[in-house]
Symmetry: C2
Subunit: 452 residues, 2 copies
Amino acid sequence: MDKATQEYVDAHLEETLDDLKRLTAQPSISAQRVGVLECAEMVAEELRGAGFEPAIMPTADPGYPVVFADSGHDSPKTLLFYNHYDVQPPDPLDEWDSPPFEPYEKDGRLYGRGISDDKGPFIARLAAIKALRATKGDLPLRVKFCLEGAEEIGSPGFHDFVARHADALKSDMCVWEGGGVNWDGRPLITLGVKGLLYVELECRAASRDSHSSYAPTVPNPAWRLIWALASLKDAGERIKLRGFYDRIRPALDEELAALRRLPDTDDEFRRDLGVEMSLGEATGFEFRRRMIMEPTANVAGVVAGYTGQGAKTILPAVARVKMDFRLVPNQDPQEVLTSLRSHLDEHGYSDVSISVLTSEHPARTPIGDPFVKVVADTARTVYGSEPYLQPSMTGTGPQYPVQEILRVPVASCGVDYPGNRIHAPNEHIRRDYFRLGVLHTAELIEALGRGV
Amino acid sequence: MDKATQEYVDAHLEETLDDLKRLTAQPSISAQRVGVLECAEMVAEELRGAGFEPAIMPTADPGYPVVFADSGHDSPKTLLFYNHYDVQPPDPLDEWDSPPFEPYEKDGRLYGRGISDDKGPFIARLAAIKALRATKGDLPLRVKFCLEGAEEIGSPGFHDFVARHADALKSDMCVWEGGGVNWDGRPLITLGVKGLLYVELECRAASRDSHSSYAPTVPNPAWRLIWALASLKDAGERIKLRGFYDRIRPALDEELAALRRLPDTDDEFRRDLGVEMSLGEATGFEFRRRMIMEPTANVAGVVAGYTGQGAKTILPAVARVKMDFRLVPNQDPQEVLTSLRSHLDEHGYSDVSISVLTSEHPARTPIGDPFVKVVADTARTVYGSEPYLQPSMTGTGPQYPVQEILRVPVASCGVDYPGNRIHAPNEHIRRDYFRLGVLHTAELIEALGRGV
């Protein structure tokens, strides 16, 4: 890669990491509406420092604005960066080795809530842009930034925002958040997200809890929910909603080939979580295929009656369960919801209500897209090793509106590595991977500018 | 009934209710070990006031002594009174109209935690004894009192206590706690208790909660517990444990006849609880038969994962459920436990652990027992109406050791009425039913003394 750019990046790395620490020190907890607007202002300031004239644009909820910036270059191609500036709540606080909003570096790692997800990737991209502006005089193509403030709470309003501002967001390709390297240090590029339908089911059978001696005649909503749930997925993990699997696009040959090239990580994964055996005893390729390609019906939480210490002979009045369905192309969260309602009704559980908490479509960019080739080629150059292409994250993000409305290919590449503990205590980035992420971004922008 | 005794009871009723209020003002919350020993001392003092020389006798846990007293009369017959001096926790405090341990009277009702369950019945019995001693010069038979301090936490150690002190407790019949009148004011005499097996089931699948995107490969203990529970009882309320129903003694003709004579209360019951329809759409006789004669498998509580507001995409590491099985003669809690373990193992849920929190046998006294006739005849005299005989309570108490070790008939009669809200806020007794309970006890002692 370009020597001058690399030298600039290295010469300014401390400065860049100082920027990152300052931004990380600003809490921006969307779930608690803590510091979000203040952080939006800081993000805008960072963008101004890299030569942009950003706008803080409202979404349906004025508490979660999008920070948008456009380099405005007259260029045949436009690259859009998606990031978010909100972070997960830092709980549990007592499991952090130091306060989550007082970032610090130790042994080549920088710690802090949001430093990896997703402030580090944003600052890395700005650092690449600053380096190119400094060493090349200007950027070789038009660059836009779109930073969301509510990603960690399911991106409410983002779809509408993209639809309303499709002209401003117009671009030819999008670099997403996430991505970086795998456990072995080889670059990892992911090309999609799973969809999500997150619902809360509730069953109420009486106006108040009663004595469990009434169990011969009083309906127990916990039992009703247990039976309803057992009808939704069998012990072989087969999801019984009518049509649930019908719309799934079968895995493409190139997706399966990409999955085959990914390394085996299931042993390490199980050890880390203290899990004896994967579902279906899946290992190696089959473990990856399930993680990346399969939809799920997960019980995220369930509660009814007395859950404290010891015995209390109670018959609960109400029972609740939180469920998330992860969806893969071409499943549709609205269809799954309709099917869930029908299933419950047909199985005699019309008394079980459904509230939708989050809904997001799955999205994937074809592995064969020319943009993916540029991302992979530049990664190979910078990292000096063959990149992994992962057809999808196992998780969810609002890629669908970008693909559906802007109709552009999307790839994740950045500064992460699998050990960085996003959403968990002691979230961190590694300095070496951060530096490589900056260099890769600069190389990618250059390559896209050359029309490679 | 005897005029002099009645006049004495009425003349001393205020004094008696003052004693009751004083005893009720002393918290004795066994679940929290609050005031239990202090209350035992007060109970002993009350017994001394009625001419006894009580002993405070330790059980296996010295925090929960039994208060025992024996009138010591040289008599062919001995009557044992069972009561308990501990009370349920007063929570939820904010639903009480006044502080639970500051008893007061309003509109003929006396309010306070434990005033009905079970301090009122105890004081009523003492009042009857004082009246007989005052008007007759002495008691016509030997009377013993046994007051437990841990009934509300499942009577741990009571079985052992009865076995160890069988000689001291030796008697010919036992008047239990509970009993009084039904909604219509006619006396209600109950002749048994259901057994109880209270267990906590736990399933753990990982060392910590993880991200729900891992659901394709990480076992979810909430799902496992849901499937295990669904295998235990079907949606038709049939309990699937092998042999669960085999040992149940079929209802006797006289039990069914007694059930038929009980009034219909299911409409009122459902209205009170806000329940639309009873299980099996049971009404009238069938409603009573189920409540009194059927065993249950109840989910008292279940918890796993995230149960707070909003969405959290988590895959729980552990799931727990609390279950109580109410048992009827001749079911055995140990057999049910063994069957539960086998069932889980055979259905592939060896990873679901079982902890036993409470275990109690069912017990019933035959309706045709001569003692029951005396209780009923004296109730008819005092209340002026035909008594109801209920073959069993719907709930549980430690009658089994009394029947099994002391081998005596047991009947509940006392001062309660169905509206007195035991275990709930605003627990109370009615002054008129309390007075009738005192009179009935005196009449019963007299009759037993006459050898009727």
